[in-house]
Structure formats: C-alpha cells, structure tokens
C-alpha cells in the first residue's frame, strides 16, 4: 500500500512531468506555426490590403487616464496607422490633469452631439469631441466620468460604428502596418470558421530609441527588471500564445493590443467592469458565447510579428503591483467561469486550455510553494534522497535554460530585432539569474495576488505604475 509520502511524491512527480511536457508541446507547436507564418508572409505585401474591395471597418479604441505628458504624440501616432477604413476613438476616463484641454487645443476639437446607443452600461459620458480640421476627421475624443479601463473601452465600443475594434493602451507604440497585419486573419476566415478576435505580440520598449512615435532602434533594456521581462515576453508571446493559437486554445489577448469583432463583443455586453483581468475575461466570455449560444466554429488568432511596444515596470514596486493585479484578474476570471472546468460542453477549451490555465497558471505558484515547504519538512525529517534531489534540481535548471534559449533562438531566427553578442551574452546571464532570483520573486507576487484576492478581498484595485512617458527627445541618443 502507498504511504502518505508516496502519494505526495507521486503527485509532485506527475504534476511536474505534465508541466514540462506541456512546455515541450508548446515549443514544437509554436515552431511549426512560426515557420508557416514566416513563409506565408514573406512575399505578401501587406500594403495591398489597402486596395481590397471588401474590408471591415475598424475603430481604434484607446482609453487614457492622466496622459497629459504624451497624449498629443500618442494620438498623432494612432492617426498615422495605415488602414483605409479606420477611426480613432480616444476615451479620456475622467482624467484630472490637463489632457482634455491639450487635445482640444492641439487638434481643434469642438464638443459635438454624437449619437450612439448605450448598448453597454457605462459611467456617464460628459462630452464627445470632433475636430474642425478635416485632416483629423476620423478622430473622436470622448470625455467621461472615471470608471476604469474596462468602462472606458465599453464607452468606445458603444460609440464605434465599425465592424471591428482594436483595443489598445494609448501609451503603446504601434507599428505603422500593425492593423494591416492584424486584420489579415479576419480576411482569411475559411468555411464556417469565424475569427472572433486576434492578438499580437507585445514587446518591451524600455531603452529603445523612439522618433515621432516610431521605434527606430530596438535595444535590450538597461534596467534589470525590464531585462527579465524581455525574456519572459519572448517565452509568453513567441512560444506560448503562438502554440495555443495553433491549437485554437488561446484564452488571452493582451489588453494592450487586441482586435475584436464589435458585434460579438456587444452581444456579450462588452468588457467586465468588475474585474482587473478584463482582457482575459472577455476572451473567455466570447469563446463561451460562441460555444454555447452561437454554436459556430470559431478561432482566436494570433500574429507573431512584434506590432506593439510598451513600457514595462522598471522597479520592484510597480512590478509587484502589476503581477499582483494579473494574478487577481486570472483568479477572478477563472472563478467566474468555473463551470467550464473539464466541461465537455466547451470542447477543447473546457478540456484543455481552461484546465491548463487553472492548473498550470493559477495553481502552479501555490503548488510550487507547497512543494518547497514539503521539501523543507523532508530535510528536517531527513527523508531526502540527495542524489535524486540533485538530479531533479539540475534538470529543472537546465530545462528552464533550454526553454529560454529556444525562445531567444526563435526570436532571433524569425525577427532578429535584438542584435549582437552583447545581447546574447546578457540574455544568457539573465536567463540564469532568472531561475534563482526573478522566478522566486514572481512566485511571491503570485502568492500576494492570491492573498489580496482571497484574504484582503481586493478584487478591483489597479495599483499604481509610475511611467516615464515616451518622450521622443529622451529616448533618442
């Protein structure tokens, strides 16, 4: 008969094995899909999309809160995105700075009575502004009472009259052809398989050189926290999301950059204002809706091109707040849709991607911490087989390095945005330091997130991240 220790040991062994095997699966799937994507896009001229006769109209919805320092440049950057049928809706979420007046003055905006259906309930809109300058005729600036990012996005969705909408963070830097690339999966819809949303790769803009709202040179960040996150984003976007997209199991599209079918989002009543993981929650709800109500084949697409550049937390406190929020958002979404867990009604999503998220994203830090405590107890009771322990320890370290090196390799092979020996040398060092330094911290942040959610009952707090606005002059050497 199995002893208590045997049961615990076997549990950890099986859990760990499945986790590592899933990484191998992710590596294989993503490499296949990346290779296909690169080949199919090599001779496709994305600018020819502009000449297409049947194209969906798109609204770019950018919520902004106290973006006084950079709002003019950010709007200019959004207006310069290439797409023939696009409107830009910037939603000022009750900012208390001078951004409203700045935009009015710079873009010759006047308050207009712009009709829209309040299909999704939101905080009151105080005013809608349009420019008297014909050059900005596709710009709509909305001033509303503060209600959070999800609420601001919902206002944008209500106001939009387009087929699709691109939800972005106003302070992100978007590649000029990003929309042309993002819309392609919607045009590639085959048969009865509807594309309901598309996500793109988000890359880290810290230390990059920026001119007139464009990334002119990609640099590996100087800040240590940002360095860790570069590696993390490589794995998450280049490998993880690509693989899940191929398996049609992608559950999250980054809130910083995602293209959605507007009518479908309206049908599910927009973003959930009660959670901080509104991006994750929306995708799950959309998928659920397609499964349960529409009952049609669908796909959540993913574009591996780096199309959106964002500033990431560059100090301990901001990072802690961000990760805490991400964890709370995940837990909230998982609990809201717990009926999907291993539910055959939801097909692959119910059996594969959703349980994976629960077991290996939410539970992983908890199980890892439990394992660590268990390990300490075993040391105290002298029940450790040192030889096996060392073998497992070396395996975990080497596998983590292998997975990171694989992600970096694919990044170089396909995009080659970070160049030179220095980058490679730094990234190898960072990958090693990550295991002993950054990973435990992430674990700590995730535990704090669980603590905040369950014990402090903090479900909606956003925390604060101090951003250094993308001031062009500062970033150009």
């Amino acid at each position: 008969m199995l002893s208590f220790y045997d049961i615990i040991n076997t549990f950890f062994l099986i859990y760990g094995s499945v986790l590592f095997l899933s990484y191998v699966f992710i590596a294989i799937m993503s490499s296949l899909d990346l290779s296909f994507y690169v080949k199919k896009s090599k001779y496709f001229r994305f600018n020819t999309i502009k000449e297409f006769k049947v194209l969906p109209t798109i609204s770019i919805i950018a919520p902004a809160y106290n973006e006084d320092a950079s709002i003019i440049e950010n709007i200019r950057s959004l207006l310069s995105l290439e797409y023939p049928k696009v409107e830009v809706i910037v939603v000022n979420d009750g900012s208390i700075d001078n951004s409203l007046q700045k935009v009015i003055d710079y873009y010759d905006m006047v308050k207009v009575k712009y009709a829209f259906n309040e299909s999704i309930e939101t905080a009151p809109v105080r005013g809608i502004y349009k420019s008297t300058n014909a050059a900005y005729s596709n710009l709509i600036y909305v001033y509303k009472e503060n209600g959070g990012k999800a609420d601001a996005l919902n206002v944008g969705i209500n106001i939009s009259r387009s087929d699709l909408f691109l939800a972005i963070d106003v302070d992100c830097i978007i590649e000029h052809d990003a929309i042309l690339r993002m819309v392609k999966p919607f045009l590639e819809e085959e048969g009865n398989r509807k594309v309901i949303a598309a996500g793109g790769v988000v890359r880290i803009a810290n230390s990059c050189e920026i001119q007139e709202g464009r990334i002119t040179k990609v640099n590996f960040p100087k800040n240590i926290w940002a360095k860790f996150q570069v590696l993390e984003y490589f794995r998450a976007f280049t490998l993880g999301r690509m693989a899940w997209s191929r398996a049609n199991g992608l559950l999250i599209i980054s809130g910083a950059f995602g293209l959605f079918d507007r009518k479908l989002v309206l049908a599910v009543n927009g973003y959930d204002r009660t959670t901080v993981g509104e991006d994750f929650e929306l995708v799950v709800r959309l998928r659920k809706y397609m499964h349960y109500v529409v009952k049609q084949n669908y796909k959540v697409a993913f574009i591996p091109d780096p199309l959106c550049w964002t500033e990431v937390p560059s100090n301990f406190k901001s990072l802690k707040n961000q990760r805490n929020r991400w964890t709370r958002g995940s837990i909230d979404t998982v609990l809201k849709h717990k009926d999907m867990f291993f539910n055959p009604k939801y097909g692959k999503m119910g059996f594969l991607s959703f349980p994976y998220w629960v077991l290996f994203e939410w539970f992983a830090p908890l199980i890892e911490t439990t394992g660590f405590i268990y390990f300490l107890l075993m040391i105290i009771f002298s029940s450790i087989n040192i030889q096996i322990f060392l073998i497992l320890l070396v395996f975990v370290f080497s596998f983590s390095l292998f997975f990171s090196s694989f992600a970096v390799y694919y990044e170089t092979l396909i995009f080659n945005r970070y160049k030179g020996y220095k980058f490679l040398f730094s990234v190898v060092l960072i990958a090693m330091a990550e295991i002993v330094f950054y990973h435990p911290l992430n674990l700590y942040f995730a535990l704090l997130g669980n603590y905040s959610y369950f014990i402090k009952k903090d479900k909606k707090g956003w925390g604060k991240m101090k951003r250094t606005a993308f001031d062009n002059s500062k970033n150009v050497k």
């Binding site: 690169v38 080949k39 001779y43 049947v54 009575k113 009709a115 009259r161 395996f395 090196s405 092979l413």
Partner: protein, 412 residues
C-alpha cells in the same frame, strides 16, 4: 531541374542529419541504460552502469532529459550566434541589393534614356555581376516584383527579355518545385507576371492545395496567366471555400489584368456563394455604367444572405444612375437589414425628387438611429433649410440624430 534537384538533395540531407541525431540520442538512451551493448560488431561497455543501475527508471529519464537540455542549450546558443550574424548579414545584403536593383530596374523599365542599346548592355553587365548568390538573385527578383506590383504598366516583355539575357529563367522555373512554399509563391508570382506558361499545370495543382497561402497566390497567378477572364469560374474555389482574402486578391488581380471578357453570368449563377461574391464585385468594378444589363445583379437584391445583398446593392448603386434607382430603393428599403440601409443612404449623393425627399422624411420618423442619421445627412446635404422643419422633437432618438447631423455640419 538541376537547381530543384540540388534543393531537394539539401533538404533530404538536412532531414537525414536530424534523423541521425535523433537515432544517436535514442541509441545513447538505450546503451547507457544497459551494462553492455553490441552494435555492428562493436561492444560498448557502459562506464556509468553502476551509477545508473541503482536508479529507478524515471530518474534515468530525468537524467537523460537533463543531458538533452544541457546539450540543447549549447546548440541553441550556437545557433543563435550563427543565425544572428547570418540574418543580419543577409538582411543587409538584401536591403543593399534591393536598393541597387530597384534603381537599375526602374531605369531599365521606365526611363526612355535606357532604350539606348549601349546603355542596356552596360546595365546588363552591372546586374549580371551581382547575381551570383541566392540572396542576390532573390533581391533582384523581389525588386522586379515590387516595381511591377506598384505600377500599372505591364513590364513582362522587358523583364522576360532581361531574364533571357541574364540566363536565370531556368532558375525561376525551378523555384516552383522547391520544398519551401515561399519559393513556390515567389516563382508563381514571377512566372505569371512575365506570362511564362511553362509551369501552368503545377500552378493549377497549387490552386487546389490545402495550404491556403499557396492556393491564394495560385489563383492570382492563374488570372494573370490566362488569356481570357471567362475561364475564371473554372479554377477558383473548386475544392476549397474562398476566403474574403481570396476574393479580394482574385478581384484585384482581374481588375489589374485589364481583360474585359468576364463571364458574369457563370459567376453569378454559380452554386458557390463565394463565387457569386466575386461576380458581384467584378460587376461593380467592370460593368460599364448605364449598360443596362443589371438584371443579374438585381436578382440578388433582398437575398437572405446579407453579404450578397450588400454587395448587390453596392454594385447597383455604382452602376445605375441615381434617378433610376429611386423606385427600387423605395420599394425594397423597408425589408433590408440596417447595415444595408445605411450603405444605400451613404452611397446616394444628391436629393432631387420630391418623392424621395418624402421617403427620407418617413425614414427619419420610423427607422433606427443610425439610419435616421444617414437620411438626415442626405437631406441636409441638399437642403440645409429643412433643418427648421425637424426642429421640434418629442422622440429622443430623432433629437439625438438631429443634434449629431446639425452639429457636425455646422462645425465643418
């Protein structure tokens, strides 16, 4: 065929190499788990057997995975270093040669100055000396494609002549049989632009491929290659549903092809809904205004499939003079979807008949908000004074629509 053979040989050797690596790894896994292994007459004695023998099998698997991971780290770091340098070098070469060839080819194709035979010979020499490597050749071909895709002029004869002189035609023809489908796409584009029919069968085969990227390019290439557009119906979407991307690419290729003999009847009578969409789009852009033969399109007005209905209205609004459309609009408007109603009103430019004005006023009273707005815009464009007629509102929606239209018009 020499190039194709070489390509396949390299590909085969590469696969063989990875297969050998996999076999070595599996062999390693096997021999290190046993005390002694005899293979092809050689006896391998495992020096670590004593260490491994005492391990449970799962620990041995973990140990092997560790060795594999460590080796992989070195492999990927080395690859990274190699490909990083190589990719940067290739990007630089491609960019440099792309600029160089674009300059030379633009002169060659589009400047009268280069019609001089002496100049042509010099130019040929300049190009020829830079076509030694694959990257140089691809940069050259890509430069031509970009020029051809950006200008309306047909450069095929000049380019074919150039290729004959440069003796690279065979290489292009061989690209279509390459293992990598990006090379096949490039070859199809080039061959179709120069109207080279040597690989038509292969392109037709690709038009039925399960790879949608290859298939889409095959459709466009066949359109460029065919003598008459009336054959279009025979090869598009035969075994696969056409995507919106396919439809757009097909329509653009036909429009750029400048051939006028499109068999609209066959397209519009097709059982395949996506072919009907192609037909409706081509009808909009290719029918001559006032030709009168719009009956085929009118058949799709009111079609329960929204896409057909929308495209049919779009074509009709582009082809038929507005005054002739008023009756159809008044007759059918009520039954249309909101999107279509908006489309109709957005495409109407002027308001001349009293009947149509009354009809718009009815719309303003009863239709959904965004239809009201479009109807108001149409009225205001023609007769600003009617604003006063609409100035007294009980209905919130009407008020909201009025405010938007009047506000936007006054501010602009």
């Amino acid at each position: 065929m020499r190039y194709t053979f070489l390509e396949y040989l390299i590909n085969f050797l590469l696969r063989l190499f990875w297969l050998i690596i996999a076999i070595i790894l599996l062999l390693g896994f096997y021999v290190f788990y046993h005390d002694e292994t005899e293979l092809f007459g050689f006896t391998f004695i495992n020096p670590y057997y004593e260490f491994i023998r005492e391990m449970p099998f799962w620990v041995y698997i973990v140990l092997c995975s560790t060795v594999f991971s460590v080796l992989s780290i070195f492999v990927f770091i080395s690859f990274n270093l190699y490909y990083g340098i190589q990719k940067t070098r290739v990007e630089n070469i491609r960019a440099k040669y792309y600029k160089y060839f674009s300059y030379l080819l633009t002169n060659y194709f589009l400047s009268d100055f280069t019609k001089n035979e002496d100049f042509k010979q010099k130019l040929l020499f300049k190009i020829k000396s830079h076509l030694k490597t694959r990257h140089q050749r691809l940069a050259f071909l890509d430069s031509f494609l970009r020029i051809q895709e950006n200008v309306a002029v047909n450069l095929s004869d000049d380019f074919e002549h150039l290729m004959q002189n440069l003796k690279i035609q065979k290489r292009i023809e061989s690209l279509i049989y390459n293992v990598d489908f990006d090379d096949k796409i490039l070859a199809m584009k080039l061959l179709s632009y120069i109207h080279n029919h040597s690989s038509d069968k292969q392109i037709i085969k690709y038009s039925n491929s399960n790879n949608f990227a290859l298939r889409t390019e095959a459709y466009a290439s066949l359109i460029r290659l065919m003598e008459k557009d009336e054959h279009l119906i025979n090869f598009i979407g035969v075994n696969h549903t056409l995507s919106i991307l396919d439809i757009n690419i097909i329509v653009n290729a036909v429009l750029k092809n400048h051939k006028m003999r499109i068999d609209y009847q066959a397209l519009l009578a097709s059982q395949n809904p996506r072919k009907i969409m192609v037909g409706l789009l081509l009808a909009k852009h290719r029918y001559r205004r006032g030709k009168g033969n719009t009956i085929l399109i009118i058949n799709f007005i009111g079609n329960p499939i929204l896409e057909f209905n929308r495209l049919a209205w779009d074509a009709l609004l582009a082809l038929v003079p507005e005054e002739e459309l008023i009756d159809i609009i008044i007759d059918r408007f009520e039954n249309e979807a909101e999107d279509v109603k908006i489309l109709i009103l957005q495409n109407f430019s002027k308001l001349e008949s009293k009947r149509f004005y009354d009809f718009l006023m009815r719309i303003i009273a009863h239709q959904p908000l965004f239809v009201k707005i479009e109807a108001m815009k149409l009225i205001f464009k023609s007769d600003f004074d009617t604003l006063t007629v609409l100035d007294d509102f009980q209905n919130e929606e009407l008020k909201s629509a009025y405010e938007e239209v009047s506000c936007l018009y006054m501010n602009n």
